[in-house]
């Protein structure tokens, strides 16, 4: 995809996002809006994995860890601070810092890709089991009781600096949607920057990146931490959407779900994971209203179908189809062979005739 076309798509995405941000609360019911906030949190979480896996080539099977840590850190900090202004900052930083520490051991220890997946998933499951066992009154951080598998009630967001001015669910939707848009364009900026291009280079050939002089370990660590921070932000939004944080944020189902969103939406794009998360979130919630088919069965079938038939995911496949439909013209323009274009076009018409 060339830069000009990519830019026009980005403008379109920006406009659609802005319309959705402003328009949705006007036309949709409150219940749907609250539900949407959760979906947006999921989309932001998918975006974080789309960045780390799709661009950095780091298959993190436990992106839910940073998501859950963000959610828990937010709730615990908000209860202790008596307001959410700093709790949001603390949550994002704690999630990013945890990702950095975990990443330090994995990348500086030169853990291979497969084990990286195993380790990240295991860490998530450790948190799941750990948090489930915190039900007694002795398990508390400051004033916040951790509450075992019942979890903790999440204090809603307030206007920064004014703890008594609590946001309504519609307002939380605005915040969430704005966070997703900012997160998305932030990621677009990041992957176009020198840092992002190096991340892609490392995905393509780690040894070459090293021989060219880039510190692969540090680059991966930083990208991983950024991904952790975005996942942590998603956790904050999730806590607000659901109103409660339970150990289930760390469970295997969630960990796998994030991967499926990214696979279905498409690796190597940023909008793909976002759309994948929205699409599957709504598919699952509409399936939840009926009882004839099991949810997980449908999800499993979708995963198998995509891995076998649409391995690149929806967005890259659509781009490929689009390119093919527009035919050789677009292709030659992309490769910059101006001179041969006329020749090939006549050859094509002759062929058609």
């Amino acid at each position: 995809m060339n830069r000009a076309r990519e830019n026009s798509w980005l403008i379109l995405i920006g406009i659609v996002g802005a319309i959705f941000l402003i328009g949705a609360p006007q036309v949709l019911e409150l219940f749907t809006i609250i539900n949407l906030t959760t979906a947006i949190a999921m989309a932001l979480l998918a975006l974080s994995l789309g960045l780390v896996w799709g661009f950095g080539g780091i298959l993190c099977f436990g992106q839910s860890t940073f998501f859950g840590i963000g959610a828990y850190a937010y709730v615990v900090a908000a209860i202790n601070f008596g307001g959410t202004s700093w709790a949001v900052v603390v949550a994002i930083l704690v999630a990013a810092a945890f990702a950095a520490v975990l990443g330090y051991f994995m990348f500086y220890g030169r853990v291979s890709d497969v084990y990286l997946g195993v380790i990240t998933l295991t860490v998530s499951l450790i948190f799941y089991n750990l948090m489930r066992r915190t039900s007694g009154p002795e398990y508390k951080i400051g004033d916040a009781l951790l509450g075992g598998f019942n979890g903790i009630n999440a204090p809603p967001l307030n206007v920064p600096g004014n703890a008594s001015w609590i946001l309504f669910p519609e307002d939380v939707f605005y915040v969430a949607m704005a966070a997703l848009i900012i997160g998305y364009f932030g990621c677009v900026w990041l992957v176009r920057s020198h840092f992002g291009r190096v991340a892609v280079a490392i995905r393509e050939n780690e040894l070459r990146a090293e021989l060219v002089g880039y510190d692969v370990r540090l680059q991966k660590l930083l990208l991983f931490a950024v991904g952790g921070g975005i996942a942590g932000t998603a956790g904050v939004l999730f806590a607000n959407g659901v109103g409660r944080v339970t150990p289930d944020v760390f469970n295997l189902y969630n960990a796998a779900l994030i991967i499926i969103w990214v696979i279905v939406g498409g690796r190597g794009t940023l909008i793909g994971p976002v759309l994948g998360a929205f699409g599957l979130f709504y598919l699952i919630s509409s399936l939840g209203q009926q009882t004839s088919i099991n949810n997980n069965l449908v999800l499993g079938v979708i995963l198998v179908v995509f891995v076998l038939l649409v391995p690149k995911g929806i967005v890259p496949t659509v781009i490929d189809l689009w390119d093919r439909k527009r035919g050789r013209r677009g292709q030659f323009r992309r490769h910059g062979r101006r001179q041969r274009r006329r020749g090939s076009r006549t050859a094509e018409t002759r062929h058609e005739g």
Binding site: H194, A201, N205, L207, R208, A209, G213, D215
Partner: protein, 240 residues
Amino acid sequence: MKGEIVVETRGLSMHFGGVVAVDQVDFNLRENELRCLIGPNGAGKSTFFKCLTGQLKPTFGDVVIRDLNVNRAHSHEIAGLGVGIKTQVPNVFEGLSVQENIWLAARRFHPAARARSLVEETLDRVRLTDIRREVVNELSHGQRQWVELGMVISAEPWLVLLDEPAAGMTHDEVLLTAELIREINKTASLIVVEHDMQFIRMIADKVTVFHRGAILIEDTMDVVAADPTVREVYLGHRKK
């Protein structure tokens, strides 16, 4: 002799279990020198090369680059000293375009504007301007080798280490590569590991012959080619 010593190994040894791949090698490279390393398969050339580039950590001995002991240095740290490295199997960023590959190398040590002009310059030097937007994994072997050479020179290194730069190239491509290497030598010292004797004749200044992990002889190409031991090593142990 030419300028000061820029690369020195002292008693460099590399053991893999019981196998001694490189055995106490003392080696010097002077400024602006072009040195070829040759030797039959399994002579330890590539292992020696990997020790120089930080891909392997020597079992014993020292590698010194410009008075700096780089025994424990990582590859990226050695590259960071201004050393350009090309590996035996072309290592390129497969899914990226030719110019992106070269830009990534140029941008590592140069600010954005300088990197852009270096990319133009390099594309010209390695004759890849016409296919600059092509994805590297769709190119021929020789072109991929040039992409890698382009990445090496775009960073403007003062020391260049090349492992089999002409492998798998057509005759014409080999000629162009030889020309390019001589050009690089105007601004940088070079170590070239090579198999192809004809290619070495084109570029060689001084040649180091490896055999069984040690240096057999170190002299000009003519002397080396005339040496009976070298012939024996290359052609196999024939008893006359």
